[in-house]
């Protein structure tokens, strides 16, 4: 069986203007989402606070639960349905934390008992102090930063087979980061700075594949974060794990297309124009690109629908990332490499 015919020949690069507009819309929407929401919506892992998941044996309304908890004077109290409709499960969240002992879950339990006459089963309780939240935030950003750094070094070395140049890039990047950290700037600025430095270096050193891959990566992660923002979903530790996996996955796709482009450039006699080689390479790998996305999406959808509420957002982030990642390896990464190559050729 074949979904994608072997002689398929779509002019992907011819549609790069449409793709550019599409990406631009997504990025602008993401930026708007970030501005409107005043940054990402941090869950308790990063913002600090407490979360209690309760389950009842019979029906209770969220309004009634909220009423019975109102006496506790919790800061930013939120009560929401959780899981399947008949599960009678709720998620109680608050910014108030309890640093000394057992107070929180006990007081919630007894307040609910007084207010509704029902004893809740406390299924999960998470409390993260503000300090720990800050630490986790820092760690998550560091993780993103380091994976970008290592991957940047790897792709600049691997694609252009210029390990010395990639060593130079890495050195410059570390120097830049050190320079920025002397001024004690915040992590997001540090990461942005590092990315800008990498892009400039790739540009100056004509590491076109590395540049295409990195821009595609930033594109994917940024849009996934933006979509999370627009849908008002919480960022938690597993979501950071999902983002890093998306980075890995998106590169995976990109690398396979790039490998083919490189192979075809080597194999062709000099006459064929770059756009044709690029199109040919994308078409040759298209079947594989689609197939892998399909198999990955199959398992992710199964995780999304059957994996339970706790893993729901993680699966969602991955689904978004896989879709964007597949799109970007065809419509973002390759056109950028082409643009840089053509510029290089003219010189």
């Amino acid at each position: 069986m074949q979904l994608i015919k072997s002689d398929i020949n779509i002019d992907f690069l011819g549609k790069r203007k449409i793709a550019f507009v599409f990406s631009a819309i997504l990025i602008i929407a993401s930026i708007t989402g970030l501005i409107v929401n005043k940054g990402p919506n941090y869950g308790i892992d990063f913002a600090g606070g407490a979360l209690i998941q309760v389950k009842f044996t019979q029906d209770v309304s969220t309004a009634k639960l909220r009423d019975s908890l109102s006496g506790l004077n919790f800061k930013d109290l939120s009560v929401q349905d959780f899981g399947e409709p008949q599960a009678h499960e709720f998620l109680i969240r608050t910014a108030s934390i309890d640093t000394v002992g057992s107070g929180l879950s006990q007081s919630v339990s007894s307040a609910i008992l007084q207010g509704t006459g029902l004893t809740p089963e406390i299924r999960r309780m998470e409390m993260v102090g503000p300090q720990v939240g800050d630490d986790l935030k820092k760690q998550a950003l560091l993780a993103i930063f380091y994976s970008l750094l290592f991957i940047t070094i790897y792709i600049s070395g691997r694609f252009e087979l210029k390990w010395i140049l990639s060593g130079v890039t890495a050195g410059a990047l570390m120097a830049a980061v050190y320079f920025l950290s002397v001024f004690n700037v915040s992590m997001p600025i540090l990461i942005t700075g590092a990315l800008v430095v990498s892009l400039i270096l790739f540009w100056r050193l004509r590491l076109k594949f590395a540049m295409g891959a990195l821009i595609a990566l930033i594109h994917d992660v940024f849009i996934t974060v933006g979509i999370f923002c627009i849908l008002n979903l919480d960022f938690s530790l597993p979501i950071i794990a999902a983002l890093l996996t998306i980075i890995g996955y998106s590169l995976n796709d990109t690398i396979i297309v790039f490998d083919r482009i490189r192979e075809n450039i080597k194999g062709e006699t000099a006459k064929v124009a770059f756009p044709e080689i690029f199109n040919k390479s994308i078409n040759q790998t298209l079947s594989r690109t689609i197939l892998t996305s399909v198999t990955t999406l199959i398992v992710l959808l199964s995780l999304f629908f059957l994996g339970g509420e706790i893993i729901h957002n993680f699966a969602f982030a991955m689904i978004v990332g896989v879709l964007i990642g597949t799109y970007s390896s065809i419509f973002v990464a390759s056109p950028i490499v082409l643009a840089v190559s053509v510029k290089g050729q003219k010189k």
Binding site: S102, Y154, N252, L303
Partner: protein, 523 residues
């Protein structure tokens, strides 16, 4: 070609090792290493405590100030007050230069651990700021964390939790993982209790009302007693004016156990060692008809009138305890007090039912996703799909075996990682198969096409997987708990899929192609 080449034997060896490692999880056979389930799957409590170890430094300074006063009194030197300041120094105020000289002598002779940081003359007195050297302060803080860890470990051991994980994290944090705990609130109370037991006299000369209005006598403080009315269950706070001087503390205890009073109310009986018994004997003898307060963590438990000298070093702590409260207090007293109070700065508790639900939903989605992939591969690639499917199944066995062999922890995100691997592992095979199809289209024989397909795809597959592996390793380095579990399964999955795609599948193809001198290939 022989049926058993060295390569095939090695492949078989790897698979058998994985199966042997995986089996104990289901059958409890040799080597008896099951896959560890994370707290989010088996239920349990994850706590991070912060030891307020600056309090230990403050306590050390208080002690030093007390000793200084004692020494000065002994030497007959008058002073205008020796007190601990907020910035962790001791301020000594002396009336004249003679006192200053004598004071300096005493400090340099008997108090080698403190040094004069600054001195100032302010009108009618000479002030000295004494401080602990920085390395001494660091040492006290480090010791406080370590001692807190030991104490908490003892308490948890006595409480009875199987396989607790307690370790120091950074300078002053203690990470505690208690799998399968039934009563998290009780465990938290026990762990967080400072259990600082002291015996102090009630200040008989001070009026409660005056003290509450603000005129607390120097050297005394107001502490409260929680008294519960047995009839209504209401708790009231009763203030006491207590002298600050500690006559005896819990460090001299040898035993603490639950006893019952004449009404069958649980109480905690304590017993002092010889030194403690001697001190207790003396203070009770010196203070007959006065009230002696038993204070635990700055709360008065009782303040009985001393009727007679008490020899033997035994006392009881009463306070309307429930049975569990009395038990836990006895454990805490036996294990010793924490050198400084602790705060819970992170807690994650998962009930056993939720953990079981997570395992169930995780397994269902893995099964459904897996079966869909198996079906898809057979439909799309026919015979070659079967090879990919076999590789996939072995891949999962390898991940399981790896988890058990490395004693890694399987978490809910970890299960998600396995599911993701199922989706992505076929990628390597897809790459190879698509390449083989291409080579076949260009007119190569099946054997040549398979060889070319594997050779050309191998490097691409390596490249593509290295990036995800980098992400997984970084995640492992920075992640905590559940996320770390994800990084582990993801990394194992990548390594396993490299093995199954590049080595196992190829070997299977060779086997198929060698049996029938094939001119066609089902792909």
């Amino acid at each position: 070609m022989k049926l058993f080449s060295v390569k095939r034997v090695l492949i078989l060896g790897v698979i058998i090792t994985a199966v042997v490692c995986l089996l104990p999880t289901f059958t409890n056979t040799w080597p008896h290493k099951k896959i560890n389930l994370g707290l989010d799957l088996q239920g349990g409590m994850h706590l991070v405590l912060e030891v307020q170890n600056i309090k230990a430094v403050e306590a050390e300074l208080e002690r030093t100030a007390d000793e200084l006063k004692k020494e000065l009194r002994k030497a007959g030197i008058t002073h205008l007050g020796i007190t601990r300041q907020e910035n962790n120094t001791i301020l000594a105020r002396l009336p004249d230069q003679d006192a200053e000289k004598a004071f300096k002598e005493i400090v340099s002779k008997d108090f080698s651990n403190i040094s004069v940081a600054a001195s100032s003359e302010k009108g009618d007195f000479i002030g000295f700021h004494l401080k602990l050297p920085d390395d001494e302060t660091d040492m006290i803080m480090k010791m406080a964390t370590e001692q807190a860890l030991e104490t908490i470990r003892n308490r948890i051991d006595e409480f009875g939790v199987s396989e607790p994980d307690i370790r120091i994290q950074g300078d002053k944090r203690i990470l505690i993982q208690l799998p399968g705990i039934n009563d998290p609130d009780r465990a938290k109370d026990l762990i967080g209790k400072t259990a600082q037991l002291t015996f102090q006299l009630v200040d008989e000369n001070a009026g409660i009302d005056a003290a509450l209005k603000g005129s607390v006598p120097v050297g005394s403080e107001i502490l409260y007693e929680n008294r519960t009315d047995p009839a209504t269950g209401n708790t009231t706070k009763i203030p006491h004016v207590i002298k600050k001087q500690v006559l005896l503390d819990g460090s001299l205890l040898v035993d603490a156990r639950v006893e019952f009073d004449q009404f069958q109310q649980p109480q905690v009986g304590i017993e002092f060692n010889r030194k403690g018994a001697h001190i207790f004997d003396r203070i009770t003898g010196e203070n007959i008809k006065k009230r002696l307060a038993i204070v635990l963590d700055n709360t008065v438990y009782s303040a009985p009138v001393i009727q007679d000298r008490i020899a033997g070093g035994k006392a009881v702590i009463t306070g309307n305890f429930t049975m569990n409260e009395a038990k836990d207090l006895a454990i805490a007293l036996r294990a010793g007090s924490l050198p400084a109070p602790v705060n819970i700065i992170e807690e994650r508790t998962v009930g056993p039912t939720l953990g079981a639900d997570s395992i169930r939903t995780g397994m269902i989605s893995m099964l459904v996703g897996g079966v869909l992939i198996l079906i898809f591969m057979v439909i799309y690639f026919k015979g070659a799909g079967l090879i990919a499917n076999l590789a996939l199944l072995i891949n999962i066995i390898l991940i399981g075996g790896g988890l058990a062999a490395f004693q890694a922890t399987l978490t809910l995100p970890g299960i998600a990682g396995i599911i993701l691997t199922i989706g992505m592992a076929v990628d390597a095979n897809v790459l190879i198969f698509e390449r083989i199809r291409e080579e076949l289209r260009w007119g190569k024989t099946p054997l040549a096409a398979v060889n070319a397909g594997f050779d050309r795809a191998a490097l691409t597959i390596l490249d593509a997987n290295v990036t995800t592996l980098i992400a997984a390793i970084v995640l492992f380095q920075f992640g905590t708990g559940p996320v770390k579990g994800f990084a582990v399964t993801l990394a194992l999955g990548i390594v396993a899929s490299l093995f199954t795609a590049l080595i196992l599948s190829r070997s299977l193809f060779d086997l198929v192609l060698q049996k029938k001198t094939a001119s066609t290939l089902s792909i």
